[in-house]
Symmetry: C2
Subunit: 159 residues, 2 copies
């Protein structure tokens, strides 16, 4: 159900990413990002991406990558997007569990989320229940399309 | 004394960066990074780089760039490196002042340092005196070449 993204999956990954990126209320991605730029961001630049599907229907995608290079590359970073119609079905939680397992197997020491928009309470709840702690708050670092300038959280978990 | 980096300055920028990057005790850059990779990291990828020199002698370099894309691009990020022989002469402080002025002129709302190694007390002192606050601490996120796994700080200043 959760497997590495191959080039044959790019179209499905974009179908999942597009509504989130266009909404512009969780990721610091240009809301007008093109399909190829979005895929470039999600599946390349040293990242490994995964696709969650149920009976061939794309439900979510996540990536994992080192958060820093050199002497900081024992900390990983992940990004998660669930398809709008798949929300509330445990997809994000399943992807997080898969990511934590993938990170441990790869030998990472910890996982860091650099920019969790404070209104993204669904995600914050899931990360918190999985043992992530808020270790920083970035004042007014996100221009929410409806909420004005709001904070972003940095969340961290030792694996 | 502090001016934008042009291609004729690349050799001097590398002379400044090389000792810091090779030492591997402040930046999360591969200590074996090549000259072209280092310059690529410092002067491109959306960054604007500056060179501080005194009578033609390169003393320090810094870059400024958006810290995030999309709805997070009102927060900037900077990196600073002072040449070993130029330390203790106010070069870092002068570059920081220049960077704050550059950031304000460019319309940025705030400046964020994502990864300040906790043993880099010289830098932390300068940033703190300039009004930066530690808004997060990343537990054991840096493998210091001599000090084992130590923390990195996230510092932030509203402009």
């Amino acid at each position: 159900m959760i497997r590495p993204v191959g080039s044959q999956d790019f179209e499905n990954v974009w179908i999942i990413l597009k509504p989130s990126f266009r909404a512009g209320d969780t990721y610091t991605i240009d809301p007008n990002v093109s399909q190829s730029e979005a895929l470039d961001y999600w599946v390349s630049s040293g990242k490994t991406a995964f696709l969650a599907d149920v009976s061939g229907v794309p439900m979510g995608t996540y990536y994992i990558s080192p958060n820093q290079a050199g002497h900081g590359d024992h900390v990983c970073n992940c990004g998660f997007v669930t398809a709008p119609q798949a929300r509330g079905q445990g997809i994000a939680r399943a992807m997080l569990e898969h990511a934590l397992e993938t990170a441990r197997e790869a030998g990472y020491f910890s996982m860091q989320f650099n920019f969790v928009v404070e209104t993204n309470t669904r995600a914050i709840d899931i990360w918190t229940r999985a043992g992530f702690e808020v270790i920083g708050r970035l004042p007014k670092a996100f221009r929410h399309p409806r909420g004005g300038n709001i904070d972003a959280l940095i969340m961290y978990k030792i694996l």
